[in-house]
Amino acid sequence: MNNIKKNRLKDQAFKIWGIACTLLGLVLLAIFIGNILIDGILRIDWEFVMNLPSRHAEESGIYTALMGSIWVLLLTTLIALPIGIAAAIYLEEYSKKNKLSTILEVNISNLAGVPSIIYGLLGLEVFVRIMEMGASVLAGSCTLALLILPIVIVSTREAIKAVPKSIRDASFAMGASKWQTVYHQLLPASFGGILTGIILALSRAVGETAPLIVIGALAYVPFAPSSPMDEFSVLPIQIFNWITRPQHGFVENAAAAIIILLLITFVMNGIAVYFRNKWQKKFK
């Protein structure tokens, strides 16, 4: 009997340990967000958003970095979206099971695991040097587009795969061609899932720092970019720059900019989860 009691006790102990571990991460996240709010919330006002960067912490703002982030995000979407969705459609609907499809699959899974800084080295050599784009918004967007391509492809494939086979059969039975089936049936039916994946991929892109530092994005840009060929900075790089300055005022600035960056990231994640839940209900 003693043994049974001991086992039950161990079982309960692990349950408590499991709850503690689960809460640990969330508590740390909460402490951390609380800390940043205390440091930075008072610093945020309209001027902080609209001011150009400056040597004086109190006059500095995030305008150029924020505009840079928006430019990069839009261009990255324009580049990664068509390529990613097209590649996913090919892999899911067109490719036959042969050597090429295996290579493509292994390759995409490998690309998803390549560290982001390596994409920075690729972008530096190919876009900045060989294609002579310089450290421009376009070069940064191309680099980030390649970085999120595997995520877009994998999530789009999942979404297309989830469309019931009966819809394809019905479409073919009505005499539709393969592309007509894809374009008029599968894409609209999987729209929610594709959108979820893309928003998640973009929320990753908006927080990326390392690859953009490597291609030469600047920490100090006096003007917001007005064309894809302009030099640029982005929010994470501005934050990094402020963190590495010793004067106290810049720590406040960094915390304030982090609040805005986190807000953008969490809102994007929230929208993605919303679309996912809405879309999942459709097939259940």
């Binding site: 990613g84 067109y94 690309l111 695991g113 592309w179 990753r204 030469g216 994470p236």
Partner: protein, 292 residues
């Protein structure tokens, strides 16, 4: 007409898929070409055995070991923190927690991986290091301990979510059999479910290691910029990724030896993560065949 249109579209789609191969080829070519140029100036034996890495000083040394030790040390600390916590979470969520709790907590935990890494760097430098300094008096303000722990927090969801998926995928009949024999949930978890899901758990751990090795901003901000061959977690170190950032922030002439060092460092990093990713892909393929 319709057939031609269909063919053109199919070719276009194929082309998009082939771009992914071009990316891989591009990465390998870029890294190797610059690395080969580097190794024509620096002997590969020095690169692998020299204990010092000082390409930016006048007395230049090119020993990758001191960068590699920084990378391995921070990654080790991160995994040592994230593995027990992440694994316990996955077992708790899969075998103990009520369904509704699991459904709300998983996306919340995944938020930990969605936070931009530069933000974690701030956290490590401004919150965790000062806190640790109250416990460990000799702790330098840049150190691998704080960077490693914060990186561990970041990769918790990689281990917990993927392992939970693997545990959850174990057929229910195995649980029924274990409970039928009178096991407690703990015995069932550790003697039946975890061994049955072991390959999935290993995949999640390998992915987490690969993520830690390639992580850049946390270590660039909180671990310092002093390459040294040490396993002391309280002193500043420099990782491969942090070195690449350090050089990129300075003004480096194209075709200078400094410029080439970041590619030599990059290819070392790429080889490590490539091996880890390939191993995890192999295991995953084998695992899928087991239950489907």
């Amino acid at each position: 007409m319709r057939k031609i249109k269909e063919l053109v579209i199919e070719r276009g789609l194929l082309l998009s898929a082939l771009i992914t191969i071009a990316v891989t080829v591009g990465i390998i070519l870029v890294l190797s070409i610059e690395a080969i140029k580097f190794f024509s100036e620096v002997s590969i034996i020095d690169f692998l055995t020299d204990p010092e890495w000082t390409p930016l000083f006048t007395d230049k040394h090119f020993g990758i070991m001191s960068l590699l030790s920084g990378t391995l040390l921070t990654s080790f600390i991160a995994i040592a923190f994230a593995l027990p916590v992440g694994l316990s979470i996955s077992i708790y969520l899969s075998e103990y927690a009520p369904k509704s709790f699991r459904r709300t907590i998983k996306p919340l935990l995944e938020l930990l991986a969605a936070v931009p890494t530069v933000v974690y760097g701030f956290f490590a430098l401004m919150v965790v290091t000062p806190f640790l300094q109250t416990i460990i008096p000799g702790l330098s303000s840049f150190n691998s301990l704080s960077a490693g722990i914060v990186m561990g927090i970041m990769i918790i969801p990689y281990i917990s979510s993927l392992s939970e998926d693997a545990l959850h995928a174990v057929p229910y009949t195995l649980r029924e059999a274990a409970y039928g024999m009178g096991s407690t949930r703990l015995q069932n978890a550790f003697k039946v479910i975890v061994p049955a899901a072991s390959s999935g758990i290993i995949v999640s751990i390998i992915l987490a290691i690969s993520r830690a090795i390639g992580e850049t901003m946390i270590v660039a901000i909180a671990a310092g910029q002093q390459p040294r061959l040490t396993f002391d977690p309280t002193v500043p170190v420099e990782t491969i990724t942090a070195y690449i950032v350090q050089v990129s922030l300075g003004d480096v002439q194209h075709d200078s030896l400094e410029y080439k060092t970041i590619f030599a460092a990059g290819i070392t990093l790429f080889v490590f993560t490539f091996l880890l990713n390939t191993i995890s892909y192999r295991i995953r393929k084998k695992f899928q065949e087991k239950y489907e």
